[in-house]
Every structure is written in C-alpha cells, then in structure tokens.
C-alpha cells in the first residue's frame, strides 16, 4: 500500500520538523499537563513532535526515576572499594590485583509477559551491553524470576518461554548463566518479573564511561541497524500525521544474540586500542537517551545527521529513529583520526559503522533529517529539569506476632517436609538450570544451587600456589516479608544476600538492586517503596555493601492489583583463593553446627513462613525480625573459620527453616544425621507446634556450617562469643532422625525435591 505520507505532498520529516505539538500529544506520550507546561517554559518554545518524543522518553519513569529518585538518593553508594556508583551503565568495584568487577541488574518484566522468549532474551542482551559498554568482558549471568501461581494456565507457557529466552541469549553469546531464583505467587499471575543481572571483569584503569569529550570529535554509531521495533507510542504519534495504518508493531524488541556476540567482540577489540573516548549502549529510549546522556554528562552538545543512521526499514522518520529500541547498538565518541582503524574492526565483524555527527560545545541536541532541522533542544532541561515527585506514602506494617501454639495441625514433621519440597518455591530448579549453559568460559566453580552463591573463577589470576581469585554472586528477595513489613523485608533481602555470599566463602562487597513494585500513585505501594529502601539502606550501610547500580520497575500491576513488592538484591562478593569456596553439601562424618540462634533459642519464628502457609494456606503476621549486629557477627565468624580451612560446607537458613536447610545439605551425598534437639523439645511428639516451629521457623541470621574439626570450631566460636547449636554428625544411613520422634528418608525427600518442577512443567520423562 502506498504510504500515506506520499499523499501529503510534503516531506514527512519536513512536516515533523515544523508541526508544533499540542497538549494531547503530550498526554498520549504519558506526560502530564504540568510536565508539558514545564517543558514549553524551559525550552522557551512549543516543541515539535520529535522534540516532545525525546522529552517524554527522558521524563519517563524508566529514564528519570521521577517517582523514586527522592528515595534512591538516600541509598548508601560509597565505600573505599567503589570505583563507580549509580549513574553509569553499570556499577564498578575494586576487587584487588588491579581488577574491577562491573555489574548491574535490570528488569524486562512487561515485554516478557507479552512475548516471553524475546522479552527475556533482550533483557539478557541489554544487561550484557550495559556491562561491556564499560570495557568489561561479561563473565557471568544471573536472573531473578517471579511467575504466577503454578496452576494458573499461563504460568507454564511463561516459564517455558522465559527460560528458553534467557538460555537462548546467554547460551548463544557464550556467557555462563550461573544461577538466580525462580519463585511463584498468584500476585504475579498477570505481571511476571524477569530481572537479569550480568557481571563483568575489567582492568581497573581501563574502565570506559559515557561522558562525551572534546567538541568536534566524531560521534559513531555501531552495531545492528535501526528498525521500527520497540517504539513506544509510535502508533499514537503516527496517527497524528501519516502511517496510522502502516505500523502496529509489537513494542517488544527482538534480540539477536549472534549480533550481540559480534558487537561484544568488536567493542572489546576496539577498546583495546586507544580509539574510544566514551561509549554508551543504546538501551531504553535508544538513540535519544544515549545521545542526550553522553552530551549532557560531558556538559557539551551534539549534532547528529539522522540520514546517516543505518536503518533496516524504508522511510523511517526522525521520531522513529530517535525512539526505536532496536537491539545490539552502541554510540561512541572516538579520538579524531582513529575512525579508519575503528572501522576496520567493525568491518571484520560484519557490523555497521557510521559517523553520524559530532560533539559540539553548544549545550544543545541538534538533529537533522532530510535537510530539515528535526530537533533543536537545550540539553539541560532534558536531564536536570526532569520532575522529581514526592508522592504520598504510607508504610503499612503488620505487627502481629504469631505464636507456635496458635497453629494446630495434624501434619507430622515428615508430612510437612514433603509439602515443603513439593512447593515449587523451594523445590530444585534443576529442570530450569539445565537449559542454561552454566559452564561455558570454563571458569564456573559453583552454579545453580551447588553453593549459596554462584562462584566464578577470575580468569588470569591463577598463581603457583592457588587457582586464583573468584567472584561470588547471588540474587535475593523474600517478597512476602516485604509485603508484611517493607522495612524488615528490605533489610532481610540484603542480609540474606550477604549470608549467601558468605556461605560460599566469599566476602560480601556491593549491591545492584532491582526495585519491582506496583503503581506508585497508590499510597501503600509508595509506602512499600519508601519502606523497603529504608530497610535496604540501613542493612547495606551496616554491612558495608553499598548500592552501585540498579533499576526501578514500577506499575507492575494488572486490573488494579499490584504484585508483591519485590526489591531484588543482587550482591557481589570476592574470594581470594577460589579453592576455598564452599558448597552447600556436607560430606560424610562432618559435624553440622548452626551459627546464630532463633529469637528465643527453643522455638522458631513462624509468622510469614513457608510452614505457616502450609498450615494456614496464607501468609500472615510479622516477618522474622532482623538484628544487624547478629547478621554481621555470623558472617564474620563464618569467613574467619573458612580462612582457617576449618569448613567443608555452609548453607544459610531461609525459606522452610532449619530442617529444610539440613535436608538440602544431605541430598548430594545421600547422608544421614541423628539430629540433636534442644532439651525442652526432647519429649515432644511429631505434631507438637513447638517442635515444628523449631524445625521450620524462619529466624534470620543463621547459617549451618559443616566441619571435620568440631573442637577447634567450638573453641573459636566460644572465644568470639557466637551463639551456636551442634546438630550432630553426618553418617551414611541416608536417614535424618529426630530422636524417636521422626525418621526422614533423605532419598525420598530428594526425589520429591527433584520431581516438583518437571511435574509442574509436564516433563516427567
């Protein structure tokens, strides 16, 4: 069909350049009236449609963090080991030996719900670009996934598609996916969460930043061509003028991991020369956010000729080119004179390379298309005048403390364990993990639940006496705790992450966070945001694990129903000698010891626990309290014991409590254990709520360690005044015995643990 633009008799881009926007256009693009008035005032003119599109992208929640900025500013972001905090493509920390770890987590929630394969694949692709833009070679991928109820009809389809998409991108580009978490709750039925995290490695003195430098320097576009995919609001803008019929393309971007791999290799090859002055990935809001951010961070300006942008489709307008979110593209400022050398590298990798403009000192973004000035905007208002809202909030806190005696049940301890491991939130995710290539690059030490944190060896740090350094990575969040008490929930996510890093033998260092919430215009949702950030801040600063990067995803709701508040913490740690890292599996004749104690020593905290949900069919009450002193003490003593090579395994106690953790430690080698009970519980029967709460309570600040040297360990624990409880010594019986009260077959439970997810997915061989 003849594009309608031809019928207009004037050039589409001439029309776009001259046509002034109206308030309705702004409202269609998601701006408010106040924001539109502010824009007109700050730029001292009525913007045209392209200019307004650029403003709407820069003022979007995604780019401007307008609802959360006020609170994000309160996060602790500094420490001696922080090289780059929030504000760049990814956070950077010093890990010694002139090396830096570069990492970030980002959400791709909405696209993954609409199109699970492409949505999650591009989520992985995007986060990888964020990392290698900084000059780092990505060495590991993680993901935090939340799906709806297992029996909800869409869940199976979404799990299957998202897992395939994550694997599809990571496997192809050749970065190992080493772990993460997958959970299910009905609140995600209509709005799943797909958070992808990437960690890269760079030389400390070879980090690349995005701030443009030097007026007159060339601006280079590299990577894939620009198409019409991912243009938010393209339809409404088109309706105003030309091709209203032409394009109703899905707004989900399409990923090409093969091009991603070529772009990764080409960029790293070019970064090995001295040609690159600054570089920025074209992620959300594509060419708009990359050009605006590069120019404004350098306090400079930029002139771009959009006719020179490599395009995939005919007759793309200035608006479409600026707002496209086509994948696998980068914008770079090169040292003048190095263009030829750079082009050769991109030619070798069969990627587009185009000089599309130059850096200026005007402080303005000036774009031309078809000889018409498509945009002429001052950069300052685009970045600095983005609104910052102080939305009303109310932090709702459930203070009801549930007592074990309030939960009456006719379930035995064995019945409950079976139910726990039949719960897809606890059960082994092996079915999922096997679809990810976790061993490519040859450096993966522990992946996918082998250890509480995934461990990747740092290539090139091998020494005569050691295999070298390792990076430990985990993602954590317990949304039901956050819902019940946002402050405690935020603290708990940080503490559990730190405990997981420590349980792998590594020192917790820094955080990237992915804040997934509902609609911030609702007081209680805003309260969840404010409360959990408060908790995260407090715990992160206490544990000296600053937040160095992150992402905010709001409006996660369907038909007015919000998701559970899910502030995911991605934490990175380091271990000097990777052979000292710890798996969760105990070995034969190890003594298991719980470090830390439950809140009153003899029973367990059941509010908001998996156990309580099994008995009551819902979560209720206050979540387990957090004592930061205790958390720190447990982490420090564990690292101290491990430094002295006294430990053989470690596992933090979280969902499902103590007995669940013990089972998980016994699975791999089919071990047994006669477990010691506190004196007050010896005479209980299997139905006793006090005993059950001891088994399944979710008190925090506890880690189970395994040792061959109980005497030495006990001595050190006493010297350091650490609470502990000796559980007993592993044997080859494959039975977990609670005195005469219960005998649990480890093989039976393990079987259930491994069958739950395959059976949910209809894959029972």
């Amino acid at each position: 069909m003849e594009p309608q633009s031809k019928l207009l008799k004037i050039n589409k881009n001439e029309y776009l350049a001259q046509q002034k926007s109206k308030l309705e256009d702004a409202l269609d693009m998601g701006l408010t009236k106040n924001e539109y008035d502010l824009i007109c005032k700050k730029i001292d003119k009525t913007p045209n449609i392209t200019e307004l599109g650029i403003f709407s992208a820069m003022f979007s929640e995604h780019c401007s963090y307008k609802s959360s900025k006020k609170w994000l500013k309160t996060l602790p972001t500094e420490a001696a080991h922080v090289i780059q905090g929030p504000g760049e493509n990814a956070g950077v920390i010093d890990i010694g030996e002139n090396l830096a770890a570069v990492f970030k987590i980002e959400s791709h929630n909405h696209p993954s719900f609409i199109e699970p394969y492409q949505g999650s694949a591009t989520g992985v692709g995007g986060i990888l670009r964020d990392v290698f833009t900084m000059g780092a070679r990505p060495i590991a991928l993680m993901n935090a996934l939340r799906f709806g109820a297992p029996n909800q009809p869409l869940t199976k389809h979404l799990v299957s598609g998202v897992v395939k998409g994550i694997g599809g991108y990571g496997n192809c580009i050749g970065i190992p996916t080493v772990g993460g978490e997958t959970n299910f709750d009905k609140s995600y039925d209509g709005n799943i969460l797909v958070n992808a995290m990437a960690v890269g490695l760079a030389k400390k003195d070879k980090i690349f930043y995005s701030a443009a430098t030097g007026a007159g320097n060339p601006v280079i576009y590299v990577g894939a061509k620009t198409g019409r995919d991912g243009i938010h609001g393209a339809t409404m803008a088109s309706a105003e003028f030309t091709e209203n019929s032409a394009e109703k393309r899905p707004t989900v971007q399409v990923g090409d991991p093969f091009t991603g791999k070529l772009l990764l290799e080409a960029c790293l090859e070019l970064m090995n020369t001295d040609a690159v002055l600054s570089i920025q990935d074209m992620g959300a809001a594509g060419l708009t956010s990359s050009s605006v951010e590069m120019a404004s961070k350098g306090s400079l300006g930029m002139n771009l000729n959009l006719d020179l942008v490599p395009i995939r489709e005919d007759e793309m307008s200035s608006y479409e080119i600026m707002l496209s979110e086509s994948q696998e593209r980068m914008l770079m400022i090169l040292k003048p004179g190095s263009e030829e050398k750079a082009k050769l590298i991109f030619d070798k990798w069969d990627l587009d390379f185009a000089i599309i403009g130059e850096v200026t000192n005007t402080g303005r973004l000036i774009l031309t298309k078809d000889g018409f000035e498509a945009c002429n905007l001052p950069l300052k208002p685009l970045v600095e005048d983005a609104p910052e809202y102080n939305k009303p909030y109310e932090i709702k806190i459930n203070t009801k403390v549930l007592k074990p005696s309030e939960l009456k049940t006719n379930l035995t301890i064995m019945d409950i364990l079976i139910k726990i491991f039949k719960n897809p939130n606890i059960a082994s995710k092996k079915w999922i993990w096997e679809q990810y290539d976790s061993s490519v690059m040859g450096d993966t030490i522990f992946a996918n639940g082998d250890s509480d944190a995934s461990i990747v060896k740092i290539h090139g740090t091998e020494k005569k006496e050691s295999y070298g350094k390792g990076i430990a990575i985990t993602t954590d969040c317990t949304p039901r705790y956050v819902k019940s008490n946002p402050i405690i929930g935020g603290m708990q996510a940080v503490c559990e992450a730190a405990r997981n890093i420590a349980s792998s033998g590594a020192k917790p260092l820094a955080i990237t966070n992915n804040l997934n919430f509902g609609n911030p215009d609702k007081k209680n949702v805003m309260g969840e945001i404010v409360g959990s950030l408060k908790g995260i801040s407090e715990a992160a600063s206490f544990l000296s694990t600053p937040i160095v990067s992150g992402n905010v995803s709001l409006y996660n709701e369907t038909n007015g129903k919000s998701i559970l508040p899910t502030p995911v913490i991605g934490m990175v740690g380091a271990i000097d000698e990777v052979e000292n890292s710890l798996e969760i599996s105990a070995k034969l004749d190890n003594v298991l010891i719980v470090l830390g104690q439950s809140h009153n020593f003899e029973t367990g905290w059941i509010g908001c626990s998996i156990y309580q949900e099994i008995i009551n069919k819902k979560y209720d009450g206050a979540p387990p309290p957090i004592n930061l002193e205790d958390e720190k003490k447990v982490i420090e003593i564990l690292l101290k014991l491990n430094e002295q090579k006294l430990l053989t395994a470690a596992h933090d106690i979280s969902d499902g409590g103590l007995l669940t953790a013990v089972c998980e430690m016994l699975f791999k080698y089919s071990l047994g254990l006669d477990i010691n009970l506190p004196n007050t519980l010896i005479n209980c029967n299997s139905y006793d709520p006090l005993l059950q709460s001891w088994c399944f309570g979710e008190d925090q600040a506890r880690i189970i360690i395994a040792t061959k040297d109980i005497n030495k360990v006990q001595l050190i624990l006493k010297e350091n005044d650490v609470d502990f409880f000796v559980l007993g010594q592993t044997d080859s019986s494959s039975n977990l015995n609670l005195k005469d009260i219960a005998t649990i077959s480890i093989n039976e439970i393990r079987n259930i643990n491994e069958k739950t997810i395959p059976s949910m997915m209809g894959d029972e061989h």
């Binding site: 490519v440 030490i445 522990f446």
Partner: protein
C-alpha cells in the same frame, strides 16, 4: 606440537580450548580466522563449540561454507588430526567431513549437564588410544542439537568400522536420562575412516580442573597431544 583453533563469527568456546591446549602443551595454539585458508602446517586443528553464524539456517551449515573449510580438508587429506567439539562437530558434519546428522535434542530443550561417556572398541586413533575399552569419562555437554542421527546402514557401518568413539553410558547407576539428547545408539562422538578426525558433542575443554567439571577432559586432550607427538 603445533595446534590451531578455528574461530568463526559466533564461536564461543575458542578461548576455553586455547586455555586447555596451552595448559597441556605449554604453547599457545594459533587462532585461525574463518576467512583464512593460508596457515602453517599444524599437528592438530580444533573446531571449537559455539553458535557460529547464530546457528541460523542449520547449526554449522553456514560455517561449513567458510574459506577455512577447504584448508581443513587439505590438512585431513595430508593425514592431519582434527577435533570438532559440539558446534565444531556440527560443522564437520555439515562440511561432510564426518557422516550422519545432528538434530534437535529429543526433549527439544537445550541441555547443560555432566554426562558419563564410555570409551568404545574403536579403530586406532590419537584421541582414545591411551584409554582402556569400557573406561568411563565424565565430561559435560551443553547443546540444543546434539542428537546424533544416522540411517541404520550407516550406524552398522560405523560400528563395523570401529568409528563410534564414545557413547553416553549409565555406568553403574540406573540414571534413566544418561543419554542427554536421544542420539542413535547413545553415540556421543564418531571418527573419520582413518581415525584422525573426531567429532564429539561433550566439551573436554570444560573438564580440565578438579574444582569444576573434573579432569577427564584434560585426560582426553592430553592423550591426544601425547599420541600426536608420539
């Protein structure tokens, strides 16, 4: 010992193979870009794993048309040794250097896990001649299209000619899914008629360290290097 690792756009196990060969030989293998067909005589050429050309069209199909393939064929006709791993195996098949085909895994899912391989009674070859028949090797796989398929006559021929090098094995346990992809006769790797070319799905270069993946891959590669050096 002069070795080379071929790199195509989308290869992603090239570095791992280079690390493994360097660890064994003490020398860094040369990197051979897929457009090259002029490189020095080598004792061993490895076609590593990855997703060459994004696996578009068919795994290995586009790579099998790269200029480097004719040089590899020349190397083979001179009696040279070639190892193809995973996507490298797929490329050797698409280039008709090895027979049969590699189709989607039976479950239609990518699978990454350790497998137990059993050394078969096979013709003299530099890859396995230091091993005992029936010896088990633990080496991981990671692939989507590793299901070796061949017509009955070809399977019979391969068997008779002793060209089945490695099979997936359940060893002593009763693991139902010991074969990760549903391949015919549990085949994990096959040899050329002269025994100098081995294509295998499992990744020996990912099993070279006791901390991860074990060291059976190192054993296989070391054996290969030692046999070539003589």
């Amino acid at each position: 010992m002069r070795s080379g690792v071929v790199i195509f756009p989308g290869s992603n196990c090239d570095r791992d193979m280079i690390v493994a060969l360097r660890q064994i030989t003490g020398k860094t293998p040369i990197k051979i870009w897929h457009k090259e067909n002029d490189f020095p005589n080598l004792d061993l050429i490895v076609v590593p794993g990855g997703f060459t050309f994004g696996d578009y069209l068919r795994c290995g199909a586009l790579a099998a048309r790269s200029p480097v393939i004719s040089s590899i064929k020349n190397h083979i006709s001179r009696g040279g040794t070639v190892l193809g791993v995973c996507n490298g195996f797929q490329i050797l098949i698409e280039a008709k250097i090895l027979p049969g085909s590699l189709i989607r895994n039976k479950k239609l899912l990518f699978t990454c896990r350790e497998t137990t391989l059993e050394v078969q009674n096979c013709i003299k070859n530099p890859f396995l001649s230091g091993f005992k028949i029936g010896e088990y090797l633990k080496i991981p796989v990671a692939h989507n299209e590793g299901n070796y398929f061949a017509p009955k006559e070809l399977l019979k021929q391969l068997k008779e000619e002793g060209r089945i090098a490695l099979k997936y094995s359940k060893q002593n346990n009763s693991e139902k899914n010991y074969n990760p992809n549903g391949s015919s006769d549990d085949i994990a790797g096959i040899l050329s008629t002269n025994g100098r070319v081995l294509g295998m799905m499992p990744h020996p270069e990912r099993a070279i360290n006791y901390l991860h993946g074990g060291t059976d891959g190192l054993k296989l590669l070391t054996n290969c290097v030692e046999q070539i050096i003589g």
